[in-house]
């Protein structure tokens, strides 16, 4: 593709970005296209309402939280680098990447993925999921038929199950331990090089078993 290089050249620091995220040039181009499509006013960064324009996100019970995850606290915009880095969480764990002891943990490692999920619950960023935070998520994800007391009993039980140090909150460590179950789904995000399509697959633990060992 002749256009590949020219598009890549337009993105600043593309080498660094690829190094950090592990995306291939084809991925980067695809994501860049998408970024430009989302950035309707051509400012070079995205605002929350750019995400809000994606109509499927409005169908997602935690869509707004996910949008929020793209913006670091206090910031109203997200640039392409950050955008790609956040999406890099969803890359499948590299199975054949050589393990260098002193290299920084890749963005798509299992614990980083979990961290991403954790921060969706932990909206006040205090490193703990409180009962109220859990209630909020539950309220968002459960249908309207569920009554409040049912909701609360679910929340209580959820916390009790995961809460190891009995402080009525779930810390990240507890969260990670709770999600260690074999059949627990991990997300993975794959873009096949050579195809300009992009998709995500859910995969069950069975196929990710190797990744577990890697960690």
């Amino acid at each position: 593709m002749g256009s590949t290089n020219s598009t890549l050249l337009k993105i600043p620091n593309v080498e660094v970005l690829m190094q950090e995220t592990g995306f291939s040039p084809a991925h980067i181009i695809r994501l860049h296209d998408r970024f430009k499509a989302l950035d309707k006013e051509g400012r070079g960064h995205l605002c929350p309402h750019d995400f809000g324009a994606i109509k499927e996100l409005a169908m997602n019970p935690i869509g707004d939280r996910i949008i929020g995850a793209f913006f670091s606290p206090g910031k109203e915009t997200v640039d392409f680098h950050t955008f790609v880095k956040i999406l890099a969480h969803f890359r499948p764990v590299d199975k054949d990447r050589p393990k260098e002891p002193n290299s920084p943990e890749p963005i798509n490692s299992r614990s980083n993925k979990l961290k991403f999920a954790f921060q969706l619950y932990d909206q006040d960023k205090d490193g703990k999921i409180s009962r109220d935070e859990l209630l909020q998520v539950l309220r968002a994800m459960l249908g309207m038929q569920v009554t409040d007391e049912q909701l609360e009993s679910i929340a209580d039980r959820t916390i009790q199950e995961a809460d190891l140090d009995r402080d009525d909150t779930i810390s990240f460590e507890e969260f990670r331990k709770a999600c260690k179950h074999k059949r627990f789904t991990m997300f993975r995000f794959c873009i096949r090089p050579g195809e300009r399509k992009l998709m995500l697959t859910l995969c069950h633990w069975s196929s990710e078993l190797q990744d577990q060992h890697e960690l």
Binding site: I66, L87, A117, K182, K197, L202
Partner: protein, 838 residues
């Protein structure tokens, strides 16, 4: 009952179209020709044809007051009787013992019922006077089923999997036809079947007619087995298209057979392949042409809305017959007509007409489907057609089964090299096992020309056996098979709550990230097509008004409004029943209240402990730590153990039941034979959408108004409490609800009240500032806007209805009501509702 005019009753239908003109002349001189009389009688004015009979009767009796004219009405009467019987059959099958229904698929039951009916007829007549004749089937029963299936085809899904579907439909069918035909021929040459008068070409012809997977049978069975979206569309699309392909293939081989073996050379074979392509694609394009015609037609039917629904059927049928006339593929023609027109027709027509079309389409399709299965059963009870050849029949069954599996795995293996989402092995098994043969195969077999194919009856009986075998036996075993495979796959289901929650949250995250990155298959081609479609095709085929209405938000809100209107009416009735159904919940909470007030600290731990203990759930987290605290209260708790266990199950169950599904788990685009209404998933989507929009609106409002919601709400609550608790003044309560509704808080009054009443344990929480941290308030809750506040006094009920959502700050507000008199409020609420409604 007179069953004498056997097949004519069926054949009559086929002749109806062209016979009418003939019968006009034929009647004058030949009134004994009952067939013609009946034909004319059904469709034409009676006066002309009554005259001859009148004279005849005058000669006999003078002036009859009442005469018995069975022959006048015989054919339509028999037709309608059979339709009636089919309706009754369907009714009885559906209403039958649920145990049977869950095991045997409906189609199988109908066939079995057909056996019985056929037996009755046979017993009366000593011959099978009623048969499913090919013309009846192909002209009067099949089209509406195909039209229905294609008209309700989930288009997006279909076109995004079109490649795979076409591969399966075209190459899969050819593969089946060729392998079955050749293998049978090989076995025949090896002498397994004894002495039969069949050549290679006939075997191939037979192979082609038995190759078609029948959409009717497949949909009937697959609908009862819940499979994922992609698998469903693959099987469904394949079965729909390969019918067309089979018919084309059949015609090609039929022509070869007619031509005779020796005269076939390379040129003829090439012509055969060429004709295959022309017939298949010609039919498809013809269908698209008719779809365009139909769309254009519905563009200008604004003033004759009463009949515009009819155009869909007429044009669809016209597409079918025209293709048949041009010897193109009629099935493909009507399929593509339905698929392509649905979007524009639905947008162009009046809402009522759309509903009419849907209902009528389902009615016709279900009706003919019932007839088909019933007659597949009835037809079997006939000694004439049964020719038994063990080798031929058994081998056919075997080959049909085996080559379907091999073919599926082969083509899937090839497809998986290109597909982004590979088709899994389980899906492949289900797909190959779902290769049900149906009425199309039988219709084609019955269409065979006995002069050219001496063993026609053997082929018919073999086809029937294959149909029975696949529809009944495979239909019965399909569900257990799927369940078994699924069970094997998902052996453990004792996930913890947090894991369940997380799994679902991850699904949602994935769906969201996918949306952010662009949809699956969102590539240059689809984008280009969408733009083209948007700019030109819609412009051409849609009313300007309809184009505007297509705006997404608009349509969603339109639907929401419709729903609200319906809810508005039914809510009053629902309230009572809801309160009732929640009554058992109260017991648990009661316990909490009574118990929790005393042992507020330890209670949660104990509850988990006991329930885990009782259920034997593996748990490493809590148990050991808190065990020491149990003895002190254990006697008291003991009676409540079971309740706690139940509670735990309830929690799991609740979570399982009510978690919103993410898109991947939804089948909301699925085609269904008998249902087309908004299903639960769509409701969910709308609910979520509504909530999201609301919370966005509110956060927008809050930032705009510059209020400090957290402070306001707490203040507000306290004010309410102090204001109301002493006297429970009606006005105060009404106001309270109104406020909360505008805040986007929950809705169902009974819930609120009950929750509040039963949970005084948590009451102190409300006032403590730690439980309503500022970040929470900022994002999620919002004080009522001024405009809203102004409107409160008049429209509390409507507001509540239009905002049936609750945003999570929630837990506090329900406790508010704790001390408010329950009955008083409820009463007041009712009276208010009445008032507003009036």
């Amino acid at each position: 009952m007179n069953f004498e005019n056997d097949c004519r009753f069926k054949r009559k239908l086929t002749k109806r179209g062209n016979c009418n003109t003939l019968s006009h002349q034929g009647l004058q001189d030949k009134q004994a020709e009952q067939n013609s009389v009946k034909d004319s009688y059904t469709t034409h004015n009676e006066s002309v044809f009554q005259n001859p009979h009148h004279q005849q009767e005058e000669n006999l009796t003078g002036l009859p007051i009442v005469t018995f004219k069975w022959h006048h009405v015989e054919t339509p009467y028999l037709v309608i009787i059979w339709v009636f019987v089919a309706g009754l059959a369907k009714l009885s099958v559906v209403e039958l013992n649920h145990h049977v229904i869950s095991v045997v698929p409906e189609s199988g039951l109908l066939i079995i019922l057909g056996f019985i009916l056929g037996g009755i007829v046979w017993g009366a007549d000593r011959a099978q006077t009623f048969k499913l004749l090919p013309p009846t089937f192909f002209y009067y029963l099949l089209p509406q089923i195909i039209l229905d299936a294609s008209y309700f085809m989930p288009n997006k899904l279909f076109f995004s999997n079109l490649g795979a579907i076409l591969i399966y439909a075209i190459f899969g069918t050819c593969w089946n036809a060729a392998t079955v035909g050749l293998s049978l021929w090989g076995c025949y040459e090896a002498g397994v079947m004894g002495n039969l008068d069949i050549g290679l070409l006939q075997f191939l012809l037979f192979g082609s007619l038995i190759a078609a997977v029948d959409p009717v049978a497949v949909i009937a069975v697959f609908e009862e087995v819940h499979v994922n979206e992609v698998l469903f569309i693959l099987v469904f699309g394949e079965s729909l298209l390969n019918d067309g392909v089979t018919v084309v293939l059949y015609n090609v081989f039929d022509a070869f057979v007619a031509l005779g073996g020796p005269r076939i050379d390379a040129a003829e074979i090439f012509k055969g392949i060429f004709s295959f392509v022309v017939v298949a694609f010609g039919g498809s394009f013809l269908g698209i042409g008719f779809a365009i015609l139909l769309s254009l037609l519905t563009r200008c039917t604004k003033h004759i809305q009463i009949i515009e629904a009819g155009f869909v059927f007429v044009v669809g049928y016209l597409a079918y017959l025209t293709a048949e006339m041009l010897s193109l593929s009629a099935i493909l023609s009507i399929t593509f007509c339905g698929i392509c027109c649905q979007k524009y027709v639905n947008a162009n027509m009046d809402e009522k007409s759309v509903t009419t079309v849907r209902h009528a389409m389902k009615l016709l399709a279900n009706g003919s489907e019932t007839m088909i299965f019933l007659f597949l059963g009835v037809t079997a009870i006939d000694t004439e057609i049964w020719v038994w050849n063990t080798g031929f029949i058994l081998l056919t069954l075997l080959f049909v089964f085996i080559y379907r599996i091999i073919g599926t795995f082969l083509f899937t293996w090839m497809l998986n090299k290109f597909r982004l989402v590979p088709i899994e092995v389980i899906d492949q098994v289900v797909m190959s096992y779902g290769g049900l043969r149906g009425a199309v195969a039988y219709g084609l077999a019955a269409l065979l020309d006995e002069d050219k194919i001496p063993e026609k009856n053997l082929m018919i009986s073999t086809t029937l056996i294959v149909v029975y075998f696949t529809v009944i036996l495979q239909g019965i075993t399909m569900k257990p098979l799927v369940q078994w495979l699924k069970v094997k796959r998902a052996a453990h289901s004792d996930l913890k709550l947090i894991e369940k929650l997380n799994n679902r949250a991850f699904d949602h995250i994935l769906a969201a990230v996918e949306d952010i990155c662009g949809r699956i298959g969102d590539n240059w081609w689809t984008r280009g097509w969408n733009r083209f479609e948007e700019n030109y095709i819609s412009w051409l085929l849609m009313k300007p008004k309809a184009r505007k209405n297509r705006d997404y938000l608009f349509s969603i809100f339109h639907k929401l409004n419709l729903e609200d209107a319906i809810n508005y009416v039914s809510e009053g009735e629902r309230q009572g029943s809801l309160a009732f159904s929640r009554s058992d919940e109260a017991a648990n909470v009661d316990f909490k209240k009574q118990f929790g007030s005393e042992f507020a600290d330890v209670m949660p731990n104990i509850m988990v402990d006991m329930s885990n203990y009782e259920l034997g759930i593996e748990h490493f987290s809590v148990t050991s730590i808190v065990k020491d605290t149990i003895p002190s209260v254990s006697l008291d708790i003991h009676g409540q153990d079971r309740k706690n266990a139940m509670d735990d199950i309830n929690a799991h169950h609740l979570l399982q039941q009510h978690l919103y599904r993410s898109r991947k788990h939804q089948h909301r685009h699925k085609y269904s034979r008998s249902h087309f209404s908004i299903n639960q998933n769509e409701d969910e989507v709308q609910e979520i959408f509504q909530r999201t929009m609301r919370s966005r609106l509110e956060s927008f409002k809050s930032t705009k108004m510059g209020v400090n919601p957290a402070k306001k709400i707490t203040k507000h609550h306290k004010k309410e409490l102090t204001h109301k608790m002493p006297n429970g003044h009606p006005d105060g309560t009404g106001h309270l609800y109104g406020d909360e509704e505008v805040e986007g808080l929950c809705v169902f009054l009974p819930h609120l009240i009950e929750a509040g009443i039963e949970n005084p344990v948590f009451l102190p929480d409300m006032d403590s500032p730690t439980h309503s941290p500022p970040w929470l308030m900022e994002t999620e809750a919002v004080a009522p806007s001024q405009r809203a506040q102004r409107r409160l006094p008049w429209t509390p009920n409507r507001l509540r209805r239009l905002a049936p959502m609750r945003i999570s700050t929630c837990s506090t507000d329900s406790f508010l009501m704790a001390d408010v008199s329950l009955t008083l409020e409820e009463h007041e609420e009712h009276s208010q509702t009445d008032h507003v409604e009036m």
